[in-house]
């Protein structure tokens, strides 16, 4: 069984008036199928309101399905007994770095998760040190989070999740509020965790550049999974992406426009290096 398996997952936000009658139903997830293997780096792309954040919250059982089933690490999310085990195994990092840091000292914040699951004190110290090292924030262990940059705060949040020793991290637009430097810092930390520690990563984002290194990409629109495949196959379909109000990375777009203008360039170019090589081959 895959680490995460969703079958026909449905989520409806139901709005009720004062008497409890249904006013309107918004289907945020419409029969979504998702398969993620242990150790994979999967990206979920989508415009605002595409249902990608709703999907993320399901993976951590912050929301439960209105229909269909979702298994995380072989456990059904509908079963309330599995709640804490799933949350421990599928950690979550949110968009706003300020609103997810609980303690006023970095190391104490990282310890918050292990404290909650009842890890003994001596083990907490080891875990805090290990996870702060894994995101390169060990120097700041005694700092106040208020004095850190956005990227650093987000790395502390990742360390906080890592300290619970999860098999999987779900990142819900972790870079949306960061500057380009912070964005790079966070992505590098995430990629490193995926490569070196074999942590399964599910990155939810609307920045195309961030998904270039993913193993697989899902594209969502209006609660449906509309495209899936490797970044290369996804980005070779520039027009389809545009119809979902998504942009392709600038390099891919440049290659696409050059090809349309008549140059003989392959589809789905992702990096500057690839474009340079393709162009050199022409002459």
């Amino acid at each position: 069984m895959n680490f995460i398996e969703a079958r026909k997952l449905v989520h409806e936000y139901i709005r009720r008036d004062e008497e409890g009658n249904v006013e309107s139903i918004l289907t945020a997830l419409n029969e979504v199928d998702l398969d993620v293997k242990q150790g994979e780096f999967v990206a979920v792309l989508g415009h605002n309101g595409s249902g990608k954040s709703t999907l993320a919250k399901h993976l951590n059982v912050l929301l439960t399905a209105s229909g269909g089933t979702l298994w995380v690490d072989g456990k059904d999310t509908k079963d309330a007994d599995n709640l804490w085990a799933i949350r421990q195994n599928a950690g979550m990092v949110f968009q706003n770095p300020d609103n997810q840091i609980i303690a006023s000292v970095v190391e104490e914040d990282v310890a918050f998760g292990p404290e909650n699951i009842g890890v003994p004190t001596s083990e907490i110290w080891k875990r805090v040190e290990r996870s702060l090292k894994s995101v390169g924030m060990i120097k700041y262990r005694e700092h106040s989070p208020n004095k850190l940059s956005g990227g650093q705060k987000q790395r502390v949040a990742i360390a906080g999740v890592m300290a619970m020793e999860p098999k999987c991290i779900v990142l819900d637009e972790p870079t949306a509020m960061l500057d380009p430097n912070g964005r790079r810092e966070v992505l590098e930390a995430v990629e490193q965790l995926n490569k070196e520690k074999g942590i399964t990563v599910i990155l939810i984002t609307h920045y195309m550049e961030e998904v270039v290194h993913a193993d697989r990409v899902y594209v969502m629109d209006h609660g449906n999974v509309v495209m899936q495949g490797s970044p290369r196959t996804i980005f070779s379909q520039v027009d389809t992406l545009k119809s979902y109000r998504l942009d392709v990375p600038q390099i891919t777009l440049l290659a696409y426009e050059l090809k349309k203008a008549g140059l003989d360039i392959p589809d789905g170019i992702l990096t500057r290096q690839e474009l340079v090589e393709a162009l050199c081959r022409l002459y």
Partner: protein
């Protein structure tokens, strides 16, 4: 302007007082405050003064830094002095116009001022030498017996520490909203008190909305990290009494007994 507010103004230093367990310091501060209301006469005055001077010297916090904490209560101090000075009945010492000052009034005013000043200084030794986190931890531990009365001690201390974490964030946010409103022509400075209070509305409404949004996000983040109340929770930094704490407890108990004895004997 709002950045000047400092709550829980910890003064980092390495001293005997800093190293004491927060529970010990809480208890000692309470005993000291109690003694301020028990002492009477010059001997008692000497005892409380000596104790305060000793503790401040041990804490390595500069005295000038401590005195700064008295500024906010200056008004209250002046009012207390005036009331005691003029409204205590007794044989008048000085008389002018319709007011009179008696020897008793002078003494009362003096001691009341000392009590208030020592009260503030004594409790600021606690807040200056203890980090806000230690303080809430200490309170949680000391108040644990109240759990039996179904008072959610852990939850209250968790709320306090979260509040402490968010004070600077909300202050920054207030600053930002204020500037945004000023840029659009809001006026927070002029007018009388009522007008000023009214002009706060466009500041407070967005602030509250954003605070609720933050609270919602934070609750979700805490849940995602398996927070489910104090039950079965371990601590990264559990409080442990050391030898110095025992000594401090003994000393403060002896001090309180001494002050009580002085009052009975003299």
């Amino acid at each position: 302007m709002l950045r000047d507010i400092t709550i829980g103004q910890y003064y980092p230093a390495d001293s005997v007082i800093h190293r004491l367990d927060p529970r010990t310091k809480l208890m000692a501060a309470m005993l000291y405050i109690l003694s301020l209301f028990i002492f009477r006469g010059w001997a008692g005055f000497a005892a409380v003064t000596l104790a305060l001077v000793l503790v401040i010297a041990l804490s390595k916090v500069p005295f000038a830094y401590m005195v700064r904490g008295l500024k906010p209560i200056a008004v209250i101090l002046v009012i207390t002095i005036l009331f005691n000075l003029f409204l205590t009945p007794g044989v008048p010492l000085v008389e002018f116009w319709k007011l009179s000052i008696s020897w008793q009034g002078l003494k009362n005013a003096g001691f009341m001022t000392v009590r208030l000043i020592y009260l503030i200084l004594g409790s600021s030794v606690l807040t200056l030498t203890t980090t806000p986190n230690q303080l809430t931890d200490g309170m949680e531990q000391s108040l644990k017996p109240l759990n039996r009365l179904h008072i959610p001690v852990h939850e209250i201390s968790m709320m306090m520490s979260i509040a402490l974490r968010f004070i600077p964030i909300l202050i920054e946010e207030t600053d930002k909203i204020m500037k945004a409103q000023l840029a659009r022509g809001a006026d927070f400075e002029s007018g009388n008190l009522i007008k000023k209070a009214k002009s706060m509305v466009p500041l407070l409404v967005p602030l509250f909305i954003s605070a609720f949004r933050r609270a919602n996000d934070l609750a979700m983040a805490m849940e995602a990290r398996c927070y489910h109340g104090g039950e079965g929770r371990t601590k990264m930094k559990p409080l442990r009494y050391k030898k110095a704490d025992g000594a401090a407890y003994l000393l403060s108990a002896a001090y309180l007994a001494g002050v009580i004895a002085l009052r009975i004997i003299l």
